[in-house]
Symmetry: C2
Subunit: 365 residues, 2 copies
């Protein structure tokens, strides 16, 4: 059923599929946590409702014996315990993180992988040490061009054994907004969110926010890890060199109104005043300036709350008067750069960055 002859042997990308979902896709959907859309009501997502995407097993890490390595093209390599990190000046940022593969399961055909529909998103308060400060302490060599972040999680992907790792170009790594976080929503990081330490790269899709960071390596060359050069690209066809996935595209989601059917999640709404609400965000850091709601393809402006936290989603509201019958609701956001959500997914081989408008069918009685 997997379509992978030897999971530990070198292999090309999996062929796209349509229709029902494979056992592997169910297993991944079970392993990884998702935001039930009604939890969009929380400005800060409670732990356990925030999405997780873990490529390999959650590593078993304990505070005792943990030391973050900062090495490579630095003048003073560092090995910092958690206590030492806690003693440094800290910063807290409210950040919306979204999985780059969010919406993959809605693409057709789709890449066999984590088959998100809409739920791969969440917002948290992340507290930690600004990365730039650590890099400054270590002292960058003149030939430094990238900074790689290597996690403690290890496994195979398409036959390539590797620790999960990602890099940032030096200018991005030195942004004052990039954190090495040790707390989430005011408590120590939960294991599934990277305990004891995770990178937070505000505005980028979640793959950049490396969990279980064990080593920070300053490089004089481009990092060539699997997740950097093979994974996380927009590719139009197999073999397309593509372009790297970076910032999260403008997007909005709606709390499905009314009550659900258990199995189909079909929605039943009472006639009359039905306030709609949801969240919208744009990872480029540009504020959301417009949200439109469509009822049966007729678009109207919703009210958008102003951006208070630069990297967090904004709430929007719309006063719908529900009339009996079947309706389709849709929502579309536009950010300050003028970027707006497409009506249909922009297809790419690995199902990255699907920010097509969400559509919710409801029955009003």
């Amino acid at each position: 059923m997997s379509g992978v002859a030897d999971p530990f042997g070198e292999q090309g990308p999996r062929p796209p599929v349509e229709g029902p979902y494979a056992r592997e896709e169910i297993a991944l959907a079970l392993r990884n946590a998702a935001l039930p859309l009604e939890a969009l009501r929380y400005e800060v997502t409670p732990v356990g409702l925030h999405y997780t995407l873990s490529h390999f097993d959650l590593p078993w890490l304990e505070e005792r014996g943990f030391a973050l390595q900062v090495c490579g093209r630095v003048r003073r390599p560092l090995a910092l315990t958690l206590a030492e990190l806690h003693a440094l000046p800290q910063r807290t940022l409210r950040v919306t993180l979204e999985c780059a593969g969010n919406g993959r399961g809605l693409m057709s055909p789709r890449y066999p992988s984590m088959a998100w529909l809409h739920e791969g998103v969440g917002t948290a308060e992340w507290t930690g040490v600004p990365l730039a400060r650590l890099l400054k302490s270590a002292g960058l060599e003149r030939d430094a061009v990238e900074v790689a972040f290597i996690g403690a999680d290890r496994g195979f992907d398409r036959g390539v054994e590797h620790d999960y790792g990602r890099s940032l170009k030096l200018a991005d790594a030195l942004s004052e907004d990039v954190l090495l976080a040790y707390a989430m929503n005011g408590a120590p990081l939960p294991p599934q969110h990277g305990f004891p330490l995770r990178l937070i790269v505000p505005g980028w899709y979640g793959m950049a926010s490396v969990k279980w960071v064990a080593r920070i390596e300053v490089l004089e060359r481009a990092y060539d890890g699997f997740q950097q050069v093979v994974g996380y690209h927009y590719r139009k066809f197999s073999g397309d060199p593509g372009t790297p996935v970076t910032h999260a595209r403008v997007k909005s989601l709606l709390v499905p109104p009314g009550i659900p059917d258990w199995y189909t999640r079909a929605r039943l709404v009472e006639r009359g005043a039905m306030p709609l609400e949801g969240r919208a965000w744009s990872g480029a850091g540009a504020a959301i300036v417009r949200v439109e709601v469509a009822v049966d393809e007729e678009w109207r402006d919703a009210a958008v709350e102003p951006a208070v936290h630069r990297f967090a989603w904004q709430r929007w509201r719309y006063a719908w008067k529900a009339t009996p019958g079947e309706h389709e609701l849709a929502v579309r956001a536009t950010d300050a750069t003028g970027a707006t959500q497409p009506l249909e997914p922009e297809w790419n081989t690995n199902g990255m960055g699907n920010n097509a408008v969400q559509r919710v069918r409801v029955t009003v009685r």
Copy 2:
């Protein structure tokens, strides 16, 4: 794709299916949280790794304005705020909860529903008020025979609109081990685990531990809610009156050793000493007295830690010497009543209580 013509119209059970999984099954697997099996290493499951199964939407509840109703066949109906509940004598119990549908996705054919493979389980420290105490305060009328627990979550199942509700027979409800919990692992209940109040019925499958309890109704008759009389039965065929699902069957799970392939979750293990570990439990409250591990169908005894917490899983360990090649690992528990896990699922129409032994294929290099 749903095979449900009108989700809001009366209907029979969905026909069983085989092979790939429907969009609805993916959506449910995404909505509900699961225990990644490596998290079996935690004696107490961190929040966010504990399974959840929520039939309808998570209700939006706030402490302000909340009052638990205790009504029906009682002499003194009660309406208790959270502060009043907190002021009552409390008790903390460590309890393993498992979804009655855990393993449903492995049955063949399977009922289209939440397609758990192995992950619908977790252990937490639940703190709250013993239910018996509340019932005593309210004063049971002589004709009381059952106690129903009605949640604040509402929706449809097979065309029947209802609040999620379950009941216990009076003798079960008066057990000193049944709690009305307001805390989980020492913190207020997270929304997805029933904030502000959930019932905890130790030893029973999770459907009995009603979340978001809004009303406790003492009845002089058998409760006839959908989840009591239609859902949660062992039925051999459609139309079989069946038997109600109650206590969790004896079961064990193994932390899959080695490292995974991202997509297939195939496991690669290094040759040599490879300690295996996992957890075993029996909801009837009987301690686990034996755990056996099979490597390629040869069963050997594992070491089982003694039961310290009566309703929590027990750890087991097994020292495996891994030899190169392909192997199948399996684990089987036996409880103090002599009940042991079957090698194959005991099929029933709705995929309830699958406690067949877990099998894990590994490649040793």
